[in-house]
Symmetry: D5
Subunit: 93 residues, 10 copies
């Protein structure tokens, strides 16, 4: 089952630059791992914001929750999940 997921990242203002860079590096590694596992399908940046829309794939909401909370930036994320059903006009349908 596919989900659109909207994620906003809000790091604490005073976080040291090094810690910030480590977090983002770890995030890239875990995102790649979730992509290989078939959880994360696409990811787009919302221009001007530390926010993204992503297309995710999971068996159910519990598996999706586990994938999202595995992200190193998860403690700093605000997340909204949109469940998706099949559309008859989907070009990939």
């Amino acid at each position: 089952m596919e989900y659109l997921v909207h994620i906003t990242v809000s790091l604490p203002p005073g976080m040291p630059s090094g810690e910030r860079q480590e977090l983002y590096a770890a995030e890239a590694v875990q995102a790649a791992s979730l992509a290989r596992a078939g959880r994360l399908v696409r990811l787009w940046r919302i221009p001007g914001r530390t926010a993204n829309w992503g297309l995710w794939h999971a068996n159910d909401a519990t598996q999706l929750h586990d994938a999202l909370t595995s992200l190193p930036l998860w403690p700093y994320m605000d997340i909204e999940v949109v469940p998706l059903a099949r559309h008859p006009n989907d070009p990939a349908g």
Copy 2:
């Protein structure tokens, strides 16, 4: 450039069933045509609603506008467009 597009369809309550079916058939034809042209990439139904999220591709907002207004159901649509930027962690990047 990619866009996420949210479309809600609200047909007038009294529209005859035949006219409704013709519109939906024409919509499917035009959606397929836009998919072949590379405008419409993915389309998902929002469960329980006559609404969808779609992934669209266009050179700019004017070309996107032309694609959306070519849909037979367009006069009955409420549309919101989200411009998307490249994300470094996009699996398809």
Copy 3:
């Protein structure tokens, strides 16, 4: 997978009383059928409103969409779907 579903029913003001009663009777029959099929688990009225919250069970959002659109009152419904994940403190978990 479980879903919380919020449904608001808005019948057209001028609908004849007989048609309205037939629709509600058919709705009760189909709700019972969906309950037997395991789709509809619980249903509560929001006091003062022609609206309800329901607990639904479906394999995925497409099966949920099919269940919701099978309701005779569906053309008059505004529906919002909340996907649910397992909570470790759920008494029924």
Copy 4:
């Protein structure tokens, strides 16, 4: 009388990990106690969020308030309560 209750938990960013774990452990104990007392009936996680929807049972809003404020995480909770009336199509009715 049944209630749907939406709870969002926001722990202070700097809370030490040990204190956090103790709080969550105590929360699980008290949730189980409220379940045995018949106050907490079901609990679902909202995917991606430290938030839940729950089905609660109480004689009135004062008894529900007492149950909710007995939770160890209550000082960190934002809570919305939806009172529920009996629906004629409720499968459990």
Copy 5:
């Protein structure tokens, strides 16, 4: 148990003046009956609007729903219900 109830009345624009007056007269009669039964405790007009806030008393949300739907103007009402718990500083407590 007490409830604050917010009611907005929207009569159809074209309703004949006589029908409107009959409805309001019947509403006054039923409001008085609900007051005698102990359901309706206080009622205030929101200035400038065909809307009111009321203080209602009912055993539970189902009894409150039955009281509200017994009002002749109910088909034209939009209603929001706020459940109330006892406050230790309530002068009437």
Copy 6:
């Protein structure tokens, strides 16, 4: 003139427990004083929240403002005031 007043109390997270208890004790004293003066008529807790709805009586908005700002918890309050007009169906009218 009567007013419905919605008050949300947000104490700073780190306030010592003793200071908190003193504030709440002083609040109860001042609420009782405002009740004796005829300013505060009823007070209800919103279940699950540190918030209340109250029925207040004052000659005008300035007298109401003075009553509300006399509360020891006022610096921590977010307040919304609803002015009320007489309703012909008010049981107490």
Copy 7:
């Protein structure tokens, strides 16, 4: 006591031009009468809209309600009332 009042006027789309002009003429007459009575103090148009902000004066919300409902356009108005208290820095205070 002073009030800020926000009024939006929405005439039915099909109202004949003559009826519309008569209503607006009657509105001007009644607005002038309310100004002479000291109810209506100032009136400003919100640019681009059939809406206004006004400064009104009334003893209480009931007198204000009576003034607002005396306007010929009242059946077509959506009205929001803001009660005002004295400010120590008011140049007219």
Copy 8:
């Protein structure tokens, strides 16, 4: 040109009482100066809140911006500006 301006003041929780009093005193002085200059025409308190509605006069939005930012409390203000046009029924018109 006239403007309605809505101002909410949020002083930092920990500001010492003396600093707070100095700021409010300086605010009163500058408000009086703006009144003499014809910028500030009326000012009303929103009951229960550290917020106000004001009627301001300025040649254009730049002059209004300069007046608002000259207020000592400006760094702690959230401000919304409503531009006003002449209304034919304005008693002061």
Copy 9:
């Protein structure tokens, strides 16, 4: 003084195609006239919608109101006006 103006156009569903085309033709003529008069500076379409953002220039809100209401489509428009002040970093400043 410059203004950003957001306009949404909602023609009645049943308007005959000829009348619609005449209105749009007249709109184009009047927009060109307002551009020559210096009122309308720029106009952009919001993709997918019958809505636009425009940059307008007027001496004050009353002159802007007169320009907007001179548009043939005005009776079908919902309009929001944002007053603009000079910014020191404006490239055209």
Copy 10:
């Protein structure tokens, strides 16, 4: 492709005045550089607020994102981007 961009700046309350002035000076330099590069076309202040609306030009949302994040104040900005399509009545069209 053109974009309307709404930016709100929120500097931390305790930032020293010197650091603040340096940031704003660097912001002016970078804004001028983006104007020379054709990214930033117009910039307007929203009266009373540390916020602006700007007209930006970029090939796509990724180039726009790079321009916005190059601003020294970007870490303190909340940004919303509106994609713009060509309007047939645009005076500059």
